[in-house]
């Protein structure tokens, strides 16, 4: 796709140069050289080559804070994503974090394997091979290995989600032939990798016979729900984030929780909040827990500050400063725990806590873990 087409498709022509985007951008506030407005202007005024050679293409978090406020409805994160497709053709790539391990896993998963290991599923969790409800595990078993050293146990949220499904009498299908959803490949311009992974996942879901796919990951949720149909047409199944699933069951009176005296705050992940406009379901889940006090951060819902890093590229001092800002904001509410609905927010924020010697008075917990811990069984 040429830059002209990208400009047309993302409404970039309508840019008013008002600068609301740059004023909203969490990166620009700390690193003023990067400016979303300047990027759009550059695309309209200068030669294409100069734009796609810019290494700051990879600085964007694609958090969508700018697009949400743009009066001209410029789809800035999609503009960045598609410009990245052009950039990788001339080998302008982002700097992979964690030595490119996560990208290497996604790339390896394009192949067909004999069997993916499901040995992490403990005996108390009941799963099946096929069924009406499929639980999409995602990358958490891998994250569990990679981020063990910073004390993040990514599988806890995954196991908690399955535990909640079991408590409702549902034995979800969990498939060994499941792959990475392709979210990172899609947002970093690796479209071929993305298509391969998506195709294999759709085949896998078809084989399982599932009518509903539940995920505990916000990124996987938006990828399956919104991105897959763009490439492969209408989905034959329903996609739900675990927060929506629990909220639905709570409303129907099928789930009840134990009393707790925790004070928590909720962090809206960009993929669930700004991308999919799901602000209420996670809050409904938290409010359904008796005794739990939910306090909002000054910036919440569509104004929520990003967790500071995305797609495992370009994690610099700028990103770390955003994360510190986020943690300070959470701390200012006086809540003991910040709840998030995305495993990656959990990892990024925990990483900053680790770097800062854990001097923040706030713990980070996944929504599914919170709900499973408060579950009133029997």
């Amino acid at each position: 796709m040429k830059l002209d087409t990208i400009i047309e498709k993302t409404n970039a022509y309508y840019c008013l140069e008002c600068g609301i985007c740059t004023g909203s951008c969490p990166i620009s506030r700390i690193y003023p050289k990067y400016s979303p407005r300047l990027f759009v202007e550059k695309s309209l005024l200068i030669a294409e080559d100069e734009l796609i050679e810019d290494s700051d293409l990879w600085t964007c978090l694609t958090c969508g804070a700018c697009s949400k406020r743009c009066p001209s409805l410029v789809d800035y994160q999609d503009f960045m994503r598609q410009t990245r497709n052009l950039a990788i053709e001339i080998d302008n790539r982002g700097i992979c974090t964690h030595a490119g391990t996560i990208q290497a896993i996604a790339s390896l998963q394009q192949n067909d394997f004999v069997q993916k290991d499901l040995s992490w599923i403990s005996d108390d969790l009941k799963i099946k091979e096929t069924g009406d409800v499929l639980f999409f595990v995602g990358c958490s078993p891998y994250f569990n290995v990679i981020f063990n050293d910073i004390g993040v146990n990514s599988l806890t949220a995954t196991k908690s989600s399955i535990k909640i499904l079991n408590a409702l009498g549902i034995e979800p299908a969990v498939r060994p032939d499941e792959r990475c959803c392709g979210h990172d490949a899609y947002w970093t311009g690796e479209l071929e990798t993305f298509k391969q992974l998506a195709k294999k996942n759709l085949e896998m879901i078809q084989k399982s016979g599932a009518k509903k796919v539940v995920l505990s990951c916000a990124e996987g949720y938006t990828t399956l729900k919104t991105v897959y149909p763009k490439f492969f047409g209408k989905l034959k199944f329903e996609v739900q984030h675990i927060s929506q699933f629990i909220a639905e069951k709570v409303e129907a009176g099928l789930l009840s929780f134990k009393e707790t005296d925790l004070k928590v705050t909720y962090h809206d992940p960009c993929r669930l909040g700004r991308f999919e406009s799901e602000y209420e379901a996670p809050r409904k889940v938290l409010q359904a827990i008796p005794g739990l006090e939910l306090v909002e951060m000054p910036r919440n819902r569509e104004n929520s500050l990003c967790c500071g890093s995305s797609t495992w590229i370009n994690c610099t001092q700028v990103n770390k400063k955003i994360q510190v800002e986020k943690l300070k904001e959470a701390q200012s509410t006086g809540a003991a725990t910040m709840i998030t609905a995305c495993p990656k927010c959990n990892i990024h924020l925990n990483c900053t806590m680790h770097d800062n010697g854990f001097h923040f008075n706030v713990a980070i917990k996944d929504l599914a873990t919170m709900a499973a811990d408060a579950l009133d069984i029997g």
């Binding site: 391990t101 290991d117 063990n148």
Partner: protein, 138 residues
């Protein structure tokens, strides 16, 4: 049918293990030619990506050769290397690749004979495991 020769990538530390390889060459001791040695400054520089990519691009097995305990030229590089190998072995197991295909060996002995004995033993183990197929249907 010709005998199966596995494609083995050997990330080899430039210090003890590579001196061993050099000695094997000087002493003209033969070792299996299907082992492809890639010298690295230190096993501490190995990343999971290097190992995973080797498998993706067609290796049947990957061997990492480090210096003996307490003998690292960069103090703790071999310990870092070992941690990375252990982590990658877990990742391989999750992706469906037998973690026995990833080997880690320490070389305190820099003699040519020791080097040849280690790589020959690893080669035999992988020959028994057979070729790694990334194309097999799930």
């Amino acid at each position: 049918m010709p005998q199966f020769k596995p494609n083995i990538i050997f990330y080899c530390c430039e210090w003890n293990p590579y001196i061993g390889a050099d000695n094997a060459g000087a002493q003209e001791i033969q070792y299996p030619a299907n082992i492809k040695i890639i010298p690295v400054n230190c096993t501490g520089r190995i990343t999971p990506k290097l190992i995973l990519n080797a498998f993706e691009y067609g290796a049947d097995a990957v061997l990492i050769g480090a210096c003996g305990k307490g003998e690292c030229h960069y103090v703790t590089g071999n310990k870092t290397g070992e941690n990375v190998v252990n982590e990658t072995a877990e990742l391989l197991q999750l992706t469906g690749i037998d973690s026995r295909r990833l080997g880690f060996e320490r070389f305190s002995d820099i003699s040519g004979e020791y080097f040849v004995s280690v790589v020959t033993k690893f080669n035999e183990k992988i020959t028994q495991l057979g070729a790694l197929s990334l194309k097999e249907a799930a």
